[in-house]
């Protein structure tokens, strides 16, 4: 009897714990969705359900509405109401400043910029890494062990540690002076950022393929190259897909290098820096920032959901990087 009661309490406690964990994880996303659909007068409302649905932020960001009317922030309206000694010209300037539509957020432009950088960089990195990882994992030559250790080492070097020298090198080479040069520099930098993790993860996965399969292929008369293309790649499809999503995500989410290299090229902004620029551009933009945030997250979340079955369960593909 006591045991049964204990068990019920335990179960309730456990369920509460699960609910708590889930809430902690998804609350920011729910809040994002909620804020993106609220009118500005509703932001202070602690309820997550908007009093009235406002799809203005989405239609503005996605360019659905032709003429965009930016709502005057409540704080500014209040200021105007409470200071009657402003001239009408001053009033007009203030209203104009806060309802300016010149810096609306062209989501699709930034989306395609991000897509361009992330796709090119992740695919290049993947192709280079497949052959490199195979060589490191399966072939014997002088320096192979050194390269293997080196990869593990550079796997942990990144971001701010490389920013200054790479920036100095590219400016010295004159690459940052033109749009083409900047694109090239950034693509190469993203390849470098993702290559070590690709090499590492793919190497681990290739090592798990029984060598006897390859041996059989050699006996059949396959060359090394044929073996890679016809045996190794199809067999490690799940690992390759996972690695590709990882490197795509690293490039898609990258802020640091983009912020420095694309600083003066507003047209080439990727989503992360555009979002940051949107946030600092004007007061009272929570709905648009939330909508843009949500839309930025959607592609990588979808990609992850697609490869999730490779991640879960017992089969972990050896370490992954964030």
């Amino acid at each position: 009897m006591v045991n049964k009661k204990n068990k019920v309490i335990k179960n309730i406690g456990f369920t509460l714990l699960v609910l708590l964990i889930v809430t902690f994880c998804i609350f920011p996303f729910i809040q994002m969705l909620s804020t993106s659909l609220k009118f500005s007068w509703d932001w202070g409302n602690p309820s997550l359900v908007p009093t009235e649905i406002n799809t203005g932020a989405y239609s503005e960001i996605l360019g659905l509405s032709e003429d965009i009317a930016v709502e005057l922030p409540a704080s500014v309206q209040k200021l105007l109401d409470e200071t009657p000694n402003l001239t009408s010209a001053q009033r007009a300037t203030i209203v104009e400043k806060y309802t300016d539509t010149s810096d609306v957020f062209p989501f699709f432009k930034y989306f395609f910029n991000s897509l361009k950088f992330s796709l090119i960089a992740s695919l290049c990195s993947l192709i280079i890494a497949i052959f490199g990882a195979y060589s490191i994992a399966r072939m014997k030559y002088r320096g192979q062990k050194l390269i293997q250790r080196g990869v593990l080492f550079v796997y942990m070097v990144g971001g701010i540690l490389l920013l200054i020298p790479l920036y100095k090198i590219t400016t010295t080479l004159g690459l940052t002076g033109s749009e083409g040069g900047t694109t090239l520099s950034l693509v190469i930098i993203y390849i470098v950022q993702t290559l070590p993790v690709c090499l590492y993860m793919l190497g681990n996965s290739f090592r798990s393929i029984p060598f006897s399969i390859e041996e059989a292929a050699f006996i059949e008369g396959y060359s090394r190259f044929q073996t890679i293309v016809r045996i190794i790649i199809p067999l490690s499809f799940s690992a390759i897909a996972t690695v590709w999503v990882y490197s795509f995500m690293i490039a898609w989410n990258e802020y640091l290098f983009a912020s420095v290299f694309l600083k003066s090229y507003t047209n080439m902004y990727t989503l992360p820096i555009a979002l940051k620029a949107l946030f600092v551009s004007k007061n009272a933009i929570w709905d648009r920032v939330s909508a843009a945030s949500l839309l930025t997250a959607v592609p990588v979340v979808i990609l992850f959901m697609l490869i999730q079955k490779f991640l879960s369960g017992n089969k972990s593909e050896g370490g992954v990087k964030e």
Binding site: T35, W43, Y141, G150, T172
Partner: protein, 291 residues
Amino acid sequence: MSTTKLTLGQKDARLGFKLVLPSVIIIGLLIVYPIFYNIYLSFFNVKMNGDAFYIGFENYNNVLSDPTFWASVGTTFFFVIASTILTTLMGLMVALVMNKKFPLRGLVRSLVLLPYVAPVISTVYSWQFFFDPVNGIFMHLLVDVFHLSASRFNLIGDPQYAIWVAIIFSVWKAFPFTYLMILSRLQTIDNTLYQAAEIDGAGDIRKFWSITLPELYFVMGSIVLLRFIWNFNKFEEVYLLTDNVKVLSVYTYFKAFTGSMDLGQGSALVVIQFSLLVGLILIYVKKVLKW
């Protein structure tokens, strides 16, 4: 056999080298070379127009005699240690929960991965909104619901509190990775160990301390070290959430890319940060990879 003909092994070695060559070139040119170039640069006064003058150790002197640098070292270690500990504990707890069977577990697993998967930039603003002094729910709870504070204040704007927000955000972002790693190890623990313990009359807590934890020891050790190294270099998660928390990466970014853009001093800072990192990596290689 003519000497010019390569043996099969040699041929294979050549091919192997050719296959890895593109990776080696890219890593060499864009990671290894910049590391050394950075050390070289740290001995120069780099002007904004690109000119550089050799100044010996002056950059280092300037950095090391600057109290804000030491404050930033302190902030970094506080941030890294606190976030690593909390991330690991949270990851362990969630892994233990997920190792049990319960309804909708598949869905819960997907949801728990969301913080880890979503871009940093798209999650920081929601967190800022949560702590926003005017509209945020946190202040609503603190002031209006629980009356713990007399008035609303800007939590993220105050460095003293902002670092805790940064730590919580970092835990939120990173614990799914820790949890996945721990869970995959948990699932390999031999069930007969638990059965044997049960026969000996061990309760759940006893089983956790005597079986689960020792089995997880190695994987947790490596996760802690990796998390330490990664968080040590963290830039975006901290900078985008709040520029009030000056960890070393953020400090360097401000020195090198804002205001007078002092690339020389920035390089010196990077060399210092890098040396600390190499120390950590060596510990990692020695301790973890030997396991």
